[in-house]
Homo-oligomer: 282 residues x 2
Amino acid sequence: MTVTVGLGPGIFDGRFGLANKKPAHLAQIPDLPSDNLAAATTGGDLSLQACADDPQVAYHAIRDLARMARGTATVRWTVLGFGRASAGKNQTTPRNLMGFKDGTRNITSDADYDEFVWLGDSAGWMAGGTYQVVRKIEMNIEIWDADVISDQQRVFGRTKVDGAPLSGGSEHTTPDFHAKAGGELKIDPRSHVSLAAHEHHGGVKILRRPYNYTDGLNQYGQLDAGLLFTAYMNDPEHFTRIQTRLGSSDRLNEYISHIGSAVFAVPPAPRAGEYIGQALFR
Amino acid sequence: MTVTVGLGPGIFDGRFGLANKKPAHLAQIPDLPSDNLAAATTGGDLSLQACADDPQVAYHAIRDLARMARGTATVRWTVLGFGRASAGKNQTTPRNLMGFKDGTRNITSDADYDEFVWLGDSAGWMAGGTYQVVRKIEMNIEIWDADVISDQQRVFGRTKVDGAPLSGGSEHTTPDFHAKAGGELKIDPRSHVSLAAHEHHGGVKILRRPYNYTDGLNQYGQLDAGLLFTAYMNDPEHFTRIQTRLGSSDRLNEYISHIGSAVFAVPPAPRAGEYIGQALFR
């Protein structure tokens, strides 16, 4: 099991005498196009992400930490995620609840981690840490399931079975966003894969680590499920930049809704004998 | 993956011309002591239980079956369970969200399956089938966590670490409900293990197959979690008898609440070339 701890902007708002330690890039995510945020699944001063092979282990960790914090902190919102969507190093790419492979182009190399995820020495006490962006993304499952596969593939810009870009090749072939057939781009410029591509964001990448979730049924009796999108990056503005474009134009927006949002600074892992965030109190 | 299909009492209420095929013991579970049922998690004409090692596989099955049924049936309630609490044959006993081993005395022998689970030839088209009782049981996690271990052990009648009965021995030692220490019964007669014991119900056993669940937070901001109790038996009255006693006297009632209830007839597995419940339409 791993537990990742994040500190929200509220930790540095003056209540705790830590305003002068505020991480340089920690600020609320601004309102973004297509946002449909619910207060009940937005914000928070602390983030706890427990990951384990057995959900019971993860649940127990969160609940025990919540118990220890009683009287000091309360639980604002929780999500039980399952079946991580994005692949990591040496993993095959899992699928999200839309049935598509998710995470084919995720960060895996040490060089990319160093360039896009970890904070360098200039970050002061946050050196070796990162930022965490969390978005709860509801999927309109019934509507998606009623769509034909050819349109679903157009929405993503990839094939459903293999995850190959519609410009050709196999899953890990680099998409060719200029390839045409019959005068039309093979990968729709409003497809998810195109709008999210680092080639269209000045080469900026983020580390995605999303999980599927289900909350049973919604108020309309429809399946209430989606993706708990969690991503790590050395500047949350990188997410903002990507989501600004996705929220404006993504063909996927017909089938999803961003209902939750939060941002946190993740302190570096503690050295032996130290505790998480110890440098914050020096 | 396995999918288990159940037919609720409503299937045989005359709407579908099947009133004369109603399984002999299929009837709504009566109101029971301590019941706190919510309409939103009670009843239903069909039950679908999908079990798999990967929750995404189970979720996909339920959602695809719901999709195929669109226009004919709608989803009434769903629960995503994890970490089956009761052990089966050759499995170590897992723990429920109260941290105790759950299922130590569960049915495992073929003889017990034949005597208490499967319906015999006298059941007509249901021969080889069984009944399924489902109860959604909310746990007051924070209150439970605030209790001392010695009291938690008294509530269950077992030790928390090993799951041994408080009358002594190890996990699989048969509890001695008459053993005393200092004039007091070692296993509290109002403990869960004592009230649920088949010795106290005329030897009647049921096959338990419960799962943990979490629904995030409740309206009071407390952890909303518990046990989706699912059990199989050849007469739902066996459950009613056991729960009548538990609902009246169980020390555990301080920490749990039965918020959902349903009963179903489970047709026998189809023979090669047949479909589930085919005998029902002959």
